[in-house]
């Protein structure tokens, strides 16, 4: 019970962090048809920016400033980079963001070095929030969930309840018509890209503290959020939410379990020893397999339900 509750809480908080990233990715994709390969790189920039800014003005001001900085960088990238390659088609756009991801990682390495920077949890958020039986749930995790939920609410209100949200939705489905009505659709694109990257930056501010801020953090998380986007259904925000939680929970539970195929076979009466063929497969524990699970889910999803959980189209 203790394991279940704490794993569920950890899984949900990790899933919410994934959603902070995949929401921006999905927004950008559904709007511009661009799969932003550099999205996780912006997440990393957010963490490093918050580390550099927070050094001077403290963690909480940086929580607001760093995403703005990342969003501004994102908007500039859209205006002067992505818009240039837009005429060459989607593959060129994907290649551009791929190159950008590579480049951002190298820039981070040149400026901050190869090792992790000491970006630490502020004192207010240090320590346990509450304890379940004997396991403590850290305050930082709780704060992560709070920020993610607030962000979810803010994005929802912005898209559904404001004028700019209406324009964004219009430009999303009917770009020509929105343009004909006098809205500057390229500028809306720039805003969406900047906004999406700012969300990634916000996730970076939180994720950088909760985990480690190092140059490989983008490459570690990047593929997972693409899995989220594909599993949830390309371009579906609700699907991204579901898939984020699903993958967050699956991964957290798997890490804590030492089940193995061999153990299962042993339980049904087939003894597995070191002499059994394929022993290295049977002895694998679920906790060891945990990093592979999202990708397995991706492959299974593509075979059995190519459009994703809540997606509407198959390509």
């Amino acid at each position: 019970m203790e394991f279940f509750v704490i794993s569920l809480l950890n899984g949900v908080s990790y899933g919410l962090l994934l959603f902070m990233l995949s929401s921006g990715l999905t927004l950008i994709f559904s709007m511009m048809g661009v799969l932003n390969f550099a999205h996780a790189a912006f997440y990393m920039v957010g963490a490093y920016a918050a580390y550099a800014i927070g050094f001077k003005i403290g963690f909480f001001p940086a929580l607001f400033v760093a995403p703005l900085v990342v969003g501004a960088i994102g908007a500039l990238v859209e205006r002067y980079g992505l818009r240039t390659v837009h005429k060459y088609g989607h593959v060129a756009e994907l290649l551009f963001t791929f190159g950008l991801a590579y480049l951002i990682e190298e820039i981070v390495k040149v400026i901050w070095g190869l090792t992790a920077v000491p970006y630490r949890v502020p004192e207010v958020l240090d320590g346990p929030l509450f304890t379940v039986y004997s396991t403590a749930f850290p305050k930082m995790r709780g704060f992560m969930m709070l920020v993610a939920l607030l962000m979810l609410l803010a994005v929802y209100l912005l898209l559904k309840r404001t004028r700019i949200g209406l324009v964004i939705q219009a430009a999303l489905t009917h770009p020509q018509m929105a343009e004909a009505l006098g809205h500057n659709v390229p500028r809306v694109f720039m805003l969406v890209f900047g906004g999406g990257t700012a969300l990634a930056g916000l996730a970076g501010v939180i994720g950088g503290v909760a985990f480690v801020t190092e140059p490989s953090m983008a490459a570690a998380l990047g593929p997972i959020i693409f899995v989220v986007a594909v599993v949830g259904g390309m371009g579906s925000l609700a699907g991204a939410f579901l898939a984020s939680l699903l993958i967050g929970i699956i991964q957290t539970f798997a890490i804590g379990l030492d089940w193995s195929l061999g153990g299962f076979l042993g339980a049904v009466g087939i003894a597995v020893t070191a002499q059994t063929p394929l022993y290295s497969l049977w002895k694998l524990q679920l906790s060891q397999v945990a990093p592979v699970l999202p990708y397995l889910l991706l492959v299974l999803m593509l075979i059995f339900r190519p459009k994703g959980l809540l997606g509407t189209r198959a390509d």
């Binding site: 799969l35 593929p223 693409f226 594909v230 497969l281 397995l296």
Partner: protein, 427 residues
């Protein structure tokens, strides 16, 4: 019924093609006799492997329109199977000569192409790219899980000198390995070139350009993509087998995401629109990596920047730039533009100097400042934390940027003029 009329064919001898292939063979045979240092031989061996790998990648990207982020899976798994086969051979359990190991790698690559390709080629476009990324991560993570097969962190090592020497060939010296690689490289090049002219190669182009139409004339686009991927994986496996023989070690890096990224970068830099593009790309890329990584720690930054600039301003790669100049020379307009190229190039050098100065000084201060900030660049010694070098850098950025912008605009204007002239001459 009368016999079908024999088709009339007009096929002049394509002299240029024979000349180019002949020169390639000659160059590959003669170069190691000119550059005999071990360093040069190793470099050329790596280039040969990279050429096969990049060409196999371009079969997907250039000819099939499939952007893959996980191509190293096939070369890497091919290399693993080949290294295990070689180890079996050297322990005497089976008999396969070393020179055929690339074929083993190729067959293994094709096998995994059949398996993984079935899943990945179900979709095309952006989703295909995502799935290949997922499969790549899947295999890369598995490589750290199954230590018996993948060798964990240390990888699987081997010794390529196996069995009795045949005609004095042991594959001990680097130059013998080079010639083995050159042989397989030429063979693969010829085969892949021939493939691009087969019906499958042609229909792969059709599926790339207009999948809907290809389906309407009766082709299953998924199957076309799948077959293309299998053949591409075969050649990637050959490259993997050769790199195994070259380095005598296979590690988890061989299936990793970075390796996949490198082949994509190399192929794109060379140019995906022409058959010879990836060959140029592989040569330039290998040279870039080997030469630059000796000089600077920030070489990956320069590589990334170069790639992004190519995507933005020369999406056809180096090959398309070359072909553009060939066109100009053929129409006798090159002499008019050449001086402006030179001017733009000189201004570009100023910008490059500014970039290098900025990056290297930043690196020195932020990462490499353990033993002081005094550094040496192009034979000049200075203190990276002092103001003057930064002033020089800023000056170079401003002056170089302004001059380059002017020169660039003039080149664009004159190219435009030449274009109009050529168009007018046609009509």
């Amino acid at each position: 019924m009368a016999a079908a009329p024999s088709r009339l064919r007009y096929r002049p001898l394509n002299l240029a093609r024979w000349l180019i292939w002949g020169l390639t063979v000659l160059a590959m045979a003669v170069l190691p006799q000119i550059f005999t240092q071990g360093f040069a031989i190793t470099l050329m061996s790596q280039m040969g492997v990279a050429i096969i790998f990049a060409l196999s990648y371009n079969m997907l990207l250039g000819q099939g329109g499939m952007l893959s982020f996980g191509h190293a899976v096939y070369s890497g798994l091919g290399a693993y199977i080949a290294v295990h086969t070689l180890n079996l051979a050297s322990s005497g359990q089976i008999w396969i000569p070393v020179s055929l190991m690339p074929l083993i790698g190729g067959l293994a690559g094709a096998f995994f192409g059949v398996v993984f390709g079935y899943v990945t080629t179900k979709r095309s476009g952006t989703t295909f790219a995502m799935i290949t990324l997922g499969i790549g991560e899947l295999v890369a993570t598995c490589a750290l899980m199954f230590k018996e097969f993948f060798g964990g962190e240390g990888g699987i090592t081997t010794n390529r000198v196996v069995g009795q020497p045949f005609l004095g060939i042991t594959f001990g010296p680097g130059v013998q390995v080079y010639y083995l690689i050159a042989f397989w490289c030429l063979l693969s090049m010829a085969l892949m070139y021939a493939w691009s002219h087969t019906p499958l190669g042609r229909i792969a182009n059709a599926v790339r350009d207009n999948p809907e139409r290809a389906e309407f004339i009766g082709y299953d686009t998924q199957r076309v993509r799948w077959f293309t991927l299998i053949i591409s994986a075969f050649f990637a496996g050959i490259a993997g087998g050769l790199s195994m023989i070259n380095f005598e070690i296979v590690t988890a890096e061989n299936v990793g995401a970075l390796r996949s990224a490198y082949v994509l970068i190399a192929t794109f830099i060379g140019g995906i629109g022409f058959f010879f593009g990836p060959i140029i790309g592989a040569i330039v890329f290998t040279f870039f990596v080997v030469a630059l990584s000796g000089y600077t720690n920030a070489w990956q930054f320069y590589l990334g920047l170069f790639f992004v600039l190519m995507v933005m301003y020369a999406p056809g790669g180096i090959a398309s730039l070359i072909m553009m100049q060939v066109q100009l020379i053929a129409r006798k307009r090159f002499r008019r533009i050449a001086p402006h190229y030179l001017a733009a190039g000189a201004c570009g050098l100023l910008l490059l100097a500014a970039l290098i100065l900025t990056v290297e000084m930043t690196y020195k201060i932020s990462v490499d400042s353990a033993d002081g900030t005094v550094m040496n660049l192009f034979g000049v010694q200075f203190d990276a934390s002092a103001a003057p070098p930064w002033a020089v850098a800023i000056g170079l950025w401003v002056v170089g940027g302004a001059l380059f912008n002017m020169a660039r605009k003039r080149v664009a204007r004159i190219l435009g003029e030449i274009q109009t002239e050529i168009l007018q001459a046609k009509t």
